[in-house]
């Protein structure tokens, strides 16, 4: 019950955060220079057409009224029309979001195992070559911007060793898969096309890897330091002195409390990937939401920017709630703290 109460409280505060976010982004997009009507319709349209556009999009109303119109539309799932694609923004989001979701899922979840493995290995072999290697790679990967990996992969695996599938798109043109979830690997598997699923996976591999590398190493470093911190605690000394084998101590008593900080970071990393994937998406010509949002910003596509920011904000908020839940499940003390 206390867990449910805590979740409900978090959801309620998330709503307030999202509302604030929409106000900030809406006002910002409206006050930056550039007539949205002119930007949407081009330099040569007549004043009459511009006026019609402004009227249809409530651009002649006061700023608070414009926001009310936008918000009521957004609550119905109507974010207006995109000035760039000329389509309903919700249709664009439906088209673009699955690509980013699939990318983030692959870049976010499988590397968790790698991060935990490296972090634990590093901690277990403190100041040995395994530890030095993990830390050395950690420094390099964490310090290297994501787009550098992307460019490097294109160069190495796309050009020097041409093992990467065609750049651009999520699937080779020779495959047609059913549109079930929008996640190509899964759709291909559900459609009974393992070859297509493999092809989609290969298209995903390097963009996901570019996005995941730095974050994985960061998570490994946090796991390592958390493990080492907990290893010095009294209860571990006590369990060890009672003759419990080290592998059991590690697995049952040390790992669980040590991954809590890592879980928090992982959650934040996954959430930020939604917004930060644009460079990787650009470089691999990955048709995702981040890339769409970037184009919208450059073209002052107000409706699209507001919608993308809201969606990313929503993803961020939901992920952080999920992280809290996982942390509470892992550590009962946190549940008690929250409900106190």
């Amino acid at each position: 019950m206390s867990l449910l109460k805590s979740i409900l409280k978090r959801l309620a505060s998330a709503l307030v955060v999202l509302l604030g976010l929409t106000i900030i982004i809406f006002v910002l997009m409206r006050i930056v220079p550039g007539d949205p009507a002119r930007l949407a319709l081009g330099a040569n349209v007549t004043e009459e057409v511009l006026e019609k556009y402004r009227e249809a999009n409530h651009l002649n109303e006061s700023l608070p009224m414009q926001y009310v119109y936008w918000l009521t539309g957004a609550l119905r799932g109507d974010f207006g029309m995109s000035a760039v694609t000329k389509r309903a923004v919700i249709q664009d989001i439906t088209d673009f979001a699955p690509a980013t979701i699939e990318l983030v899922l692959w870049a976010g979840f499988p590397p968790i195992l790698a991060a935990l493995f490296l972090g634990v290995t590093s901690a277990q072999h403190k100041n040995k070559w395994q530890d030095y290697l993990c830390r050395f790679l950690g420094y390099i990967f964490v310090a290297t911007p994501t787009f550098v990996f992307a460019v490097l992969f294109v160069l190495v695996f796309g050009y020097w060793l041409p093992v990467m599938p065609t750049i651009g798109g999520r699937l080779s043109p020779s495959f047609v898969i059913p549109d079930i979830t929008g996640l190509y690997v899964l759709d291909a598997l559900l459609g009974g096309q393992p070859q297509a699923a493999w092809d989609a996976f290969l298209h995903l591999l390097f963009p996901a890897l570019a996005l995941a590398l730095g974050k994985t190493m960061q998570e490994a470093r946090i796991t390592r330091s958390s493990m080492l911190q907990n290893a010095d605690k009294d209860y571990i000394t006590m369990v060890t002195s009672q003759g419990v084998p080290q592998s059991v101590v590690n697995r049952k008593f040390l790992l669980k409390p040590s991954v809590i900080p890592t879980v928090t970071i992982i959650g934040m990393d996954i959430a930020t990937m939604f917004g930060n994937a644009f460079l990787v998406e650009r470089i691999f010509n990955w048709p995702g939401l981040s890339s769409y949002g970037m184009t919208a910003i450059l073209n002052k596509d107000t409706n699209a920017v507001c919608a993308v920011v809201l969606i990313i904000g929503l993803a961020f908020t939901l992920t952080s709630i999920a992280v809290d839940i996982v942390a509470m499940i892992l550590d009962p003390r946190m549940r008690q703290k929250r409900t106190r």
């Binding site: 930056v32 550039g34 760039v84 695996f157 080779s172 070859q195 470089i283």
Partner: protein, 548 residues
């Protein structure tokens, strides 16, 4: 033991992974399976754009849109290399005595991709749709065409509200729609009984009769088109079977795709470094062409101190044209008029060269001679185009030498559009490049100089000269081409000494292309049509997949 097994499993996974990657690649060359392409699907020309283009001919009007529209739709008349037009869907035409009513006779052997026959009614419908919507290329007709009539199946009449000599030239942008198909696909919208006028449908589908038809529209990445095998005009046997316009032009991706022969043509936005490095790759060459784009310094004629012609001329003398044409825009040619040499009606009008002494002399003759320091010149460059900052810095460096203060202002494109709407907010100097929408001097005069259309990013010189407006109107309404050209030349003579704007360089567009298996005649200066988009006109491109 467990560790060894785990290690072996990991190694096996890695090997499998790369074997899988390798398979895709090798399959690609054999053209058999995943990630690969058959010989048939290699008969494709792929090119990049900044974004996925708009393919509704009533909405799209930029370069990306033009490259697709010219291939999937037929225009009423076809532009020629010399800037004139030739019969296309309209096989002949005549104009009334008063020069207001144009009557076109339409071919009767053209079918749309849907199988519907193309009739005069479709032409009339297309024009009416452009006028009603007022978007895309509609502005070319909205101020002139009053009435549109389909007289019978093969005759259509356009009635203008004034004598319009440039109508024919602008009709290269009238891409004829299959009215029946569009009407069947009206959605709900703001156009009364016409609903959305087929906008939603035409965003992702075509209703044309052109040499190619849309096979796949992916808003998020590309437009794929296939050859219309029943096209009324015979296509070369080596014309590509398909073409793909890719809405992304990240340099690293473009380079890799070109080197892997997964891209046939680059776009014009690639940096000269990228193009040069691609030019060094075996099987890739560089095509240089001129499609009428000129890089200008647009001068605000209504704001101090550039309201004085001597200050404007001084600015023209401050520009080092050699640096502009060789270093900033490599291989470009110094512009000798505000009209491109590729356009009908071009005449040489000025001969400014980099000369600090002359610039100083012009300042001395201006009304600001004694207090020029009190009037800093604001030079705005579009933030999204970093090469133009170099132009601004060039002026600043020269101005420094003669004691003129220049403020270089980096301005986002959205702000340039906003600022251009009033003389007070327009900078003294704006660095901008453009070409006319149709290959005649009238296109530039009408869009960029006529005070009736002032207030746009193209028309922000604020000349406000009634005589000039009269001359432009007079020229645009002249039916006879020779007479019209003479009037265009007269306008250039009239402007020669006023220096209302500074044409810097006729931009040379540089494309890298797969010369080993592609004949890129569409951009070859010997054959190219100097109208936006025609460097990607597929019937003028040949591909030889066997040479790949």
């Amino acid at each position: 033991m467990k560790k060894i097994i785990a290690g072996l499993l990991c190694a096996a996974m890695v090997v499998t992974l790369f074997a899988g990657c390798g398979k895709s690649s090798s399959d690609s060359s054999e053209g058999t399976s995943a990630g690969g392409a058959s010989k048939d699907s290699e008969n494709i020309v792929r090119y990049t754009l900044t974004t996925t283009p708009q393919i509704d001919p009533g909405v799209g009007a930029d370069l990306g849109a033009a490259t697709v529209l010219i291939n999937i739709y037929d225009p009423l008349v076809m532009p020629k290399k010399d800037g004139s037009v030739e019969p296309w869907i309209a096989k002949e035409w005549k104009v009334s005595e008063d020069g207001k009513t144009w009557t076109f006779t339409i071919r009767d052997d053209v079918k749309f991709h849907s199988g519907n026959p193309l009739t005069a009614n479709d032409v009339a419908y297309t024009m009416q749709r452009l006028l009603d919507m007022g978007e895309g290329f509609g502005y070319l007709f909205s101020s002139t065409i009053e009435e549109v009539k389909a007289v019978d199946d093969t005759t259509v009449e356009f009635v203008c509200n004034k004598t319009t000599g440039t109508l024919l030239a602008t009709l290269v942008r009238l891409y004829i729609l299959d009215s029946k198909l569009v009407e069947e696909n009206y959605g709900s919208g703001d156009y009364g009984d016409k609903g959305d006028y087929g906008k939603a449908f035409l965003l992702e589908n075509d209703a044309g009769s052109g040499p190619y038809k849309v096979k796949e529209y992916a808003a998020s990445s590309h437009v794929l088109c296939e050859q219309n095998t029943e096209y009324w005009n015979e296509l070369d046997v080596n014309a590509p079977k398909e073409f793909k316009a890719i809405g992304s032009n990240e340099a690293v991706t473009v380079k890799t795709m070109m080197e892997r022969k997964e891209l046939e043509l680059t776009d014009k936005y690639q940096t000269s470094e990228t193009i040069n490095s691609l030019g060094k790759v075996d099987g890739i060459d560089i095509m240089e062409t001129n499609t009428g784009d000129i890089m200008y310094l647009l001068l605000n004629n209504s704001k101090a101190p550039t309201d004085d012609p001597h200050v404007r001329k001084a600015l023209a003398y401050m520009m080092d044209y050699d640096v502009v044409c060789n270093d900033i825009f490599p291989n470009s040619k110094k512009a000798d008029s505000i009209i491109s040499q590729t356009s009908l009606g071009h005449k040489k009008m000025n001969d400014y060269s980099f000369d600090i002494e002359k610039a100083k002399a012009e300042i001395a003759q201006s009304k600001y001679a004694d207090n020029i320091k009190d009037y800093p010149i604001e030079v705005c460059w579009v933030a999204e185009t970093p090469d133009r900052e170099k132009l601004a810095l060039l002026i600043q460096a020269a101005a420094d030498q003669i004691g003129v203060k220049v403020n270089v202002v980096k301005t986002p494109w959205a702000s340039v559009i906003e600022n251009s709407s009033a003389p007070e907010s327009t900078a003294n100097v704006t660095t901008t490049g453009f070409a006319a929408d149709y290959p005649e001097a009238g296109g530039v005069f009408d869009s960029a100089l006529s005070s009736k259309k002032a207030g746009t990013w193209m028309n922000c010189c604020w000349i406000n000269d009634d005589k000039l407006d009269g001359m432009i109107d007079e020229a645009l309404s002249t039916i006879d081409t020779d007479e019209r050209v003479a009037k265009y030349e007269a306008i250039q003579d009239y402007l020669a000494d006023q220096c209302v704007m500074i044409p810097l360089a006729e931009e040379t567009l540089r494309f890298a292309y797969q010369s080993a298996y592609v004949d890129y005649n569409a951009a070859d200066p010997e054959y190219s049509i100097p109208v936006m988009g025609y460097v990607n006109y597929m019937p003028n491109i040949k591909i030889y997949p066997d040479k790949k």
